[in-house]
Subunit: 209 residues, 2 copies
């Protein structure tokens, strides 16, 4: 394989790293992922092309790193202002309401034009490139899904949720339909749809329980 040698990381320029992240996100937002080139990122960041090739194996990897950096900074921000620093799913005792609240927020986030292009590009790249996809899932998606898992487990302990369901499977029943509509653009992704998914998932489709 290609180990993609990473040189001594202690000597790495933080200034360049940040500039590259910023330039990558900006360019993808402006001209789209396909027309964003590594040479363009380097020029925009005021950085030598080789500096990018030295630390990243691909354009997609640069973008993923930029995303993680952004997410980490946002999390730190939320931590500082929110105080408690959890970022979990609320537990009011009413599972349906809690889920609708969070899934509606997810809908708004997915529909945000500012982040749509880079997110789509990264997801699409992950669909095709298993290595990048695994990093994407592990570092961005799975932590989010685990929040749902814990909320659902709490629901099981409080008797809200059937004891015989696998929370991990249940999460996908809730999240996958939203992701499906967003990714494939089959039908509009709305709050009403999020609510419908929650209702159907919790009550089931069968007439006779």
């Amino acid at each position: 394989m290609s180990p993609h040698r990473t040189p001594d990381s202690s000597r790495r320029s933080d200034r360049s790293r940040r500039a590259i992240h910023e330039a990558a996100l900006a360019l993808v937002g402006e001209v789209g992922y396909a027309r964003t080139t590594i040479e363009g990122i380097a020029a925009r960041a005021g950085v030598g092309k080789q500096t990018i090739y030295r630390w990243w194996p691909s354009k997609a990897a640069v973008l993923l790193d930029a995303f993680l950096d952004m997410a980490a900074r946002q999390a730190a921000e939320a931590d500082a202002s929110g105080g408690g620093g959890e970022g979990g799913i609320p537990d009011t005792g009413d599972l349906a309401t809690d889920l609708k609240l969070v899934l509606r927020a997810t809908v708004d986030e997915l529909n945000d034009p500012a982040t749509e292009a880079p997110t789509r590009a990264l997801t699409a790249e992950g669909v095709v490139d298993p290595v990048l996809g695994a990093q994407f899932v592990e570092s961005l998606l799975e932590p989010q899904l685990q929040l749902y898992v814990t909320r659902l487990r709490a629901g099981q302990e409080s008797g809200e949720v059937r004891a015989d369901v696998d929370p991990r499977v249940a999460v996908e029943l809730l999240v996958a339909p939203l992701a499906h509509r967003w990714l494939l653009r089959t039908l509009p992704l709305t709050h009403a749809y999020a609510d419908a998914v929650v209702d159907h998932a919790l009550r089931g489709l069968s007439a006779r329980g």
Copy 2:
């Protein structure tokens, strides 16, 4: 816009069209979508590069056409052998069993290494390119989903399915989780998972109906 002028289609070479389809599918399967080039397809098909540019606007469009051609040929084949010529979802009166049967088949199809690379490439391209995505959904995905819709509607009339569910939403509750696992590779896509999705979707997650 760019009308992408298509010349006199009556004079079009069917031989070339088929050769291009075949070469495109073969190359994507062998070297992957990213490393498949239009020049490569032309060379492999024994065709002038311009013949491809004359009839298709992009590499993805060629692949989509190849897919449609393949699907049409398979449908014709099934029609000839099956006799009845429907291709719908069986209706034994037991919805869970019927759905598991079909979704298990879908799992096998998605896990088939022969078709995986081209399908992933096409889907990923559709995620990023709205025009291609719309064609993909309209010509390949939506017809499939409609089969589920009709089966679910039949279930409503027979009393198997709650009357107050939107069949179109219900379909996504069943199909999206499979698509989600396949696209993002979060966890293995197995028959057991398909069964679990059906059970959860039909019975619901709530402890109290």
